[in-house]
């Protein structure tokens, strides 16, 4: 749990990432009649009872808290889809399944505030938790493979929360490798030949850990 535990390292706190995620759009079904809201980030509505419309998540949550709407669970949050994703995640240890960039935050917000709108909440909750665990585990095991030879790590479909947790660590690791690998190098052109002798140089990595 190298990256995950060390929150001080993250650029954003979890709450901050969640804040960013609140700009994601989501479909709600209002139960009030209200004119369109003309906000800085765009126009939303008009709101007509029982007719779905798309609003930012923060607005959806605000309306939901006041009992003015019900939130429509996004497609990917159905038990069926999540089960598929979980299976696929488990089957492919190398890659990540495409999920919304903010899936952790969105699902968290929805489970916290709109649990009555989600069919089979408990199932969904546990599935998402499982998916998260599997993916974090994958990230961690991916970190283990980083060695002196690595100078870039390609992680497709990584989500905001995941990347936020590992980004600082990863960046520092890579930087450190880079620094220790090729102190004499001015250009970034990094050939494997120049790296090879440095692989043995594992000492400095110890220092990274406590951070």
């Amino acid at each position: 749990m190298a990256g995950q535990t060390d929150h001080s390292l993250s650029i954003f706190s979890a709450a901050e990432v969640e804040f960013i995620a609140e700009d994601e759009m989501i479909e709600i079904v209002p139960n009030i009649r209200m004119d369109a809201l003309n906000l800085l980030c765009g126009d939303f509505g008009p709101f007509v009872p029982q007719i779905p419309c798309t609003v930012p998540l923060w607005l959806a949550v605000a309306l939901k808290k006041r009992g003015k709407c019900s939130i429509r669970t996004p497609d990917w949050m159905s038990v069926e889809k999540l089960t598929q994703v979980l299976e696929a995640e488990r089957e492919s240890p190398r890659e990540f399944q495409p999920l919304p960039f903010h899936y952790v935050e969105i699902s968290r917000l929805l489970l916290d505030h709109a649990h009555d709108d989600i069919p089979e909440v408990y199932m969904v909750r546990s599935l998402i938790e499982d998916i998260r665990n599997v993916r974090f585990h994958k990230v961690e095991s991916g970190l283990e493979t980083i060695s002196g030879r690595t100078h870039a790590v390609k992680l497709k479909n990584l989500s905001a929360m995941e990347v936020n947790l590992v980004r600082p660590f990863m960046a520092r690791v890579l930087q450190a490798f880079y620094k220790h690998d090729s102190p004499e190098m001015v250009q970034q052109a990094d050939t494997s030949a120049s790296k090879r002798p440095q692989v043995v140089d594992r000492g400095p990595r110890r220092d990274l850990r406590p951070r």
Binding site: V29, N31, I32, R33, M34, P49, Q50, I51, P52, G67, K68, S70, R72, P119
Partner: protein, 952 residues
């Protein structure tokens, strides 16, 4: 068929389980099995009827106890045995039939078996289940001759093609695969054409070839049975009717003329397949999961999910052809003459096609030795040429049978007039809450519970609608209507004690106890409707009763026929009644009347159009008071004043449907779109929980596919035109009352702009496809000069000098017209208003700069040209003569206020004499273009001012 079929218990089961029943080929024995019972029973029917199977000693059935777990499938070979059974214990066993002695184990699977089928000759047995792969087992040496892999889910149904070319299989996902028996290849894979029961193992998908092998019946997604072509796998037609839920099992009559289907709604229907019409039905206490026609005679054996079976005698009415007529039998039976063989589908087919079905469920077959030989001969040594001939032959036959079907439809279609229904209701479901009324405002729901119901009223807008306490209903209300002020509930008459009652509940009233009810003796409320301060009920005596909000009986009218539906909004009440019996084509004849209750007038009266062979499913008013109807074929029509009052089709579900299994349950509509609840088949109506969500769909005209390839634009063109005409009509109406029409004018103007944009797009596509005449015509329809110039730009860009010339001529004509009609401002309200304010004079062409206000007036003068055909042009001229100079003074005022300069004033005074006349005309023409009526115009020069001021 009031009598209920008595079922007797054969298998004991606590939970509903799939049971099967099979007739012996001579009709003397019946084999039954049940998925929760390890026994297979063979009932001897030739013995005196047993009191209760299994209990009475004399006629106790033969019990076969060889399986360790429940028997899921049984199949019967073509001749006297063998009987095969498959079980949850993964084994398939063979028995002698009807003796019941155990022959041996055929095969073992690793997972439960779900389905078995013998081929026509009995030489092959197909078995399948949760394993991946269908095993084809040779019954002679019990070896596996082939394993067919391709299904991704449990295979639940198998059927050998009676001609022994194909095997059809279906899995619980609803995927059907045609296998070629000689090669084992998949010929056609039809994905998700049947209901998906993957999560529900209690229902097994089945399929079955028609005994002549020409088509394959598969349960459809829309509570129907769909027929697929033998060779191509294409959908031929479907049998759709009164099944309220998916069809779970069915069985062809031995001659293939009839089909017995049983649905999850616990009904069994008998269909005349040629007529695609159900001819008989029976409702059961439990779901029927197994059906089998008696190979000889007119009987159907049924078995339900709790293991009780029965024999339904004469399921096909005696007056009709026997279900076994035309079947070639080995022993001539006095009952069946062959004289009709030609007429039945067996025409030109030899014995194997005219003989019995051998679907899995029935497996009942009656085979002559000759026919078996035939089948065998058709085996591998089948030569190509013959195949081709056979194909041609079969096509011909199909055509013939189609022709016959067409005749039959006209001749003897059982027509039915639809019953009265309450708009926005859903049928009752056991133990589930249902809608008595659902509209855009809210819903009234009811849940029956021990003889009385709980009725709840909910508004969609929880912020504004009144909160209504739920009530306990001792009457058993089935109809309701709801508006902002109250709701009306009514119940049908149920015996003498429980007479029909109408109850009105106001939501907010200053007096206590202001809810009231009316009772009707010997009369029954059929539909109710609610409007502004009135309540209407149409009764079985064809009375339209109108009450005031407080319960005063105001009017009683007689309506023309049995009522179908009613809808109310504001002052208007629409009532649809039957005008006559159905036409022989199956079309209903409905009549609609719209009453204005407050004024006691009738505003619309006429026939209500329906799609052929459909019934009305919805009727209602839009918020702005337009009337619309929706029929069971998914067509929405809106009443319009155009052409002296006609119904315009504005939506067709067939075109709009994205996938086969969507049903639209309409709730309401407005000017351009309608609101509906999309229900996934097999459901055709929404359930109360979870709360249904409305979907907005745009109107789309049923346009013919044109050579332009711009269907969307054409549709937009139609719809905008329609909208525009509605708005113009409304403006006219409101002006007649002297009301402010500024808002509407704005709307009309933006519509005109939209229409112009749309026309420009059409011109562009006309240019592309070289339709120059059409392009010119479209250019004439443009309402502003700016758009006309845009059009010229378009044609210039597409290098069409002829068109460019033409368009320029049109533009010039317009400008000249403008010069002639200098004072149109006051009347031509709805025209180009803002166009000129947006368009600064700087951008004018040199030609237009001659008169600065020309530019202002252009839209007005263009107007008559746009909307008028040559006929209206002349009408315009005529009108011009008769018009009076009313608006002159106003016109002058305006021109001053605008401060457009002395030039304008000069011009205004110059054309005073004739100018007012022309302007009068333009105004009139604008407003009357929608209806064609010539009525005195009202001149309220409101907006031109406002707008000009705003702009300058």
């Amino acid at each position: 068929m009031g009598r209920l079929l008595k079922l007797r218990e054969a298998h004991k089961t606590d939970v509903p389980a799939t049971c099967s029943v099979l007739w012996a080929h001579d009709g003397s024995h019946l084999a039954t099995s049940c998925a929760s019972d390890t026994e297979v029973l063979i009932h001897d029917l030739s013995a005196p009827p047993p009191g209760r199977s299994g209990s009475t000693a004399g006629s106790s059935p033969v019990v076969l106890r060889h399986h360790k777990e429940g028997v899921t499938a049984i199949a019967l070979g073509p001749t006297a045995g063998p009987l095969a059974s498959g079980s949850f214990d993964h084994s398939v066993k063979l028995y002698n039939f009807p003796v019941g002695s155990f022959q041996g184990n055929v095969t073992r699977f690793t997972l439960p078996i779900k389905s078995l089928a013998f081929n026509k000759s009995g030489s092959l047995l197909a078995a399948a289940g949760d394993d991946d792969g269908i095993k084809l087992i040779s019954t002679i040496d019990l070896t596996i001759s082939r394993v067919l892999k391709g299904h991704r889910g449990p295979v639940t149904g198998l059927s050998f093609d009676p001609k022994h070319d194909y095997l059809a299989s279906i899995d619980s996902f609803g995927t059907v695969i045609y296998w070629e028996l000689s090669t084992g290849k998949q010929l056609h894979t039809l994905k998700s054409i049947a209901p998906n029961y993957n999560s529900d193992s209690s229902v097994l998908n089945t399929l079955s070839w028609r005994p002549d092998g020409e088509m394959l019946a598969v349960p459809g997604l829309r509570n129907d049975v769909v027929m697929y072509d033998r060779d191509t796998g294409e959908k031929l037609f479907n049998l759709r009717g009164d099944h309220e839920k998916s069809v779970c099992s069915f069985c062809w009559s031995p001659n293939g003329k009839y089909l017995a289907t049983s649905g999850l709604d616990k009904q069994v229907l008998i269909w005349d397949v040629d007529l695609k019409q159900d001819i008989e039905r029976q409702k059961f206490e439990e779901r029927i999961c197994g059906l089998s026609w008696k190979p000889v005679g007119n009987s159907l054996a049924v078995i339900d999910v709790v293991g009780r079976f029965g024999i339904w005698d004469n399921p096909v009415p005696v007056s009709m052809k026997s279900p076994t007529e035309g079947v070639v039998l080995n022993e001539p039976h006095p009952l069946f003459e062959d004289e009709d063989e030609e007429e039945v589908l067996g025409k030109g087919i030899s014995c194997y096609s005219g003989s019995l079905d051998d679907s899995i469920e029935k497996g009942s077959g009656d085979f002559s030795p000759i026919s078996r030989k035939r089948v065998k001969k058709r085996g591998p040594s089948f030569d190509e040429g013959e195949e081709v001939l056979q194909e041609i032959d079969s096509r011909k036959r199909r055509k013939e049978s189609e022709n016959k079907r067409g005749d039959g439809e006209i001749r003897e279609r059982a027509v039915r007039m639809q019953d009265a229904f309450q708009v926005g209701f859903t049928p009752p479901q056991q133990g589930k809450r249902r809608f008595l009324c659902y509209n855009l405002l809210g819903c009234v729901t009811s849940l029956e519970n021990d003889g009385f119901s709980h009725v709840e009223v909910d508004f969609h807008d929880t912020g504004r609608g009144p909160r209504v306490p739920s009530m306990t209903d001792y009457f058993g209300f089935t109809m309701a209507a709801l508006n902002e002020k109250g709701c009306v509930l009514a119940n049908p008459c149920k015996g003498e004690k429980n007479m029909s009652t109408l109850m009105y509940r106001p939501f907010g009233s200053w007096a206590n106890n202001s809810e009231w009810s009316m009772r009707f003796e010997l009369e029954e409320v059929k539909v109710v409707a609610l409007g502004k301060n009135w309540v209407a009920a149409v009764t079985s005596h064809n009375f339209l009763r109108i009450f005031t909000e407080s319960g005063l009986q105001m009017h009683i009218l007689s309506v023309n026929g049995p009522v179908v539906a009613a809808a109310g909004s504001g002052d208007l009440l629409a009532v649809v009644t039957h005008a006559s019996d159905c036409l022989s084509s199956g079309d209903q004849v409905l009549e609609i009347k719209v009453f204005n209750i407050n004024e006691a007038t009738q505003t619309i009266s006429g026939r209500l159009p329906l799609t052929p062979c459909s019934h009305l499913t919805w009727l209602g008013f839009s918020e702005d008071g337009r009337l619309g109807s929706f029929d069971s074929k998914g067509n929405l029509r809106v009443y319009s004043d155009q052409f002296g009052g006609s119904w315009l089709p504005v939506f067709s579900a067939d075109k709009a449907r994205k996938s086969e299994d969507e049903n639209y349950w309409i709730v309401g509509f407005n000017a351009t779109k309608f609101f509906c609840i999309v229900c996934k088949s097999p459901e055709s109506y929404p359930s109360v929980m979870p709360k249904p969500v409305l979907t907005i769909l745009e109107f789309s005209s049923p346009l013919a596919s044109s050579d332009l390839g711009a269907d969307e634009v054409e549709n937009e063109f139609m719809m905008t035109n329609l909208q525009l005409s509605e708005i113009r009509k409304k403006i006219k109406d409101m002006e007649a009352f002297g009301l402010d029409v500024t808002a509407l004018d704005d709307e009309a103007f933006s519509l005109e702009v939209k229409l112009d944009r749309c026309i420009l797009k059409l011109i562009a596509s006309c240019c592309h496809s070289d339709r120059l005449v059409r392009a010119t015509e479209l250019a004439r329809l443009l309402s502003t000069q700016k758009s006309l110039k845009g059009a010229i730009t378009i044609v210039t860009a597409s290098k069409l000098p002829i068109l460019q010339e033409k368009f320029s001529t049109i533009l010039e004509e317009r400008m000249l017209d403008d010069l002639k009609t200098p004072e149109p401002i006051p009347t031509g309200r709805s025209n180009g208003k803002t166009a000129y304010s947006v368009q600064p004079p700087v951008r004018l062409s040199p030609m237009m700069e001659k008169s600065p206000d020309l530019n202002n007036r252009t839209p007005n003068t263009i107007k008559p040209q746009i909307k008028s055909s040559p006929a209206t042009e002349t009408l315009k001229l005529v009108k011009a003569r008769y018009s009076t100079p009313e608006n002159l003074a106003q016109g002058e005022d305006i021109s001053k206020e605008r401060e457009l300069g002395s030039k304008l004033e000069k011009l205004a005074t110059f054309v005073k004499g004739k100018g007012n006349a022309t302007s009068e005309v333009t105004g009139k023409d604008v407003s009357s273009s929608a209806t064609g009526n010539v009525k005195p115009e009202l001149k309220i020069p409101i907006n031109p001012f406002a707008r000009v001021k705003k702009a300058t």
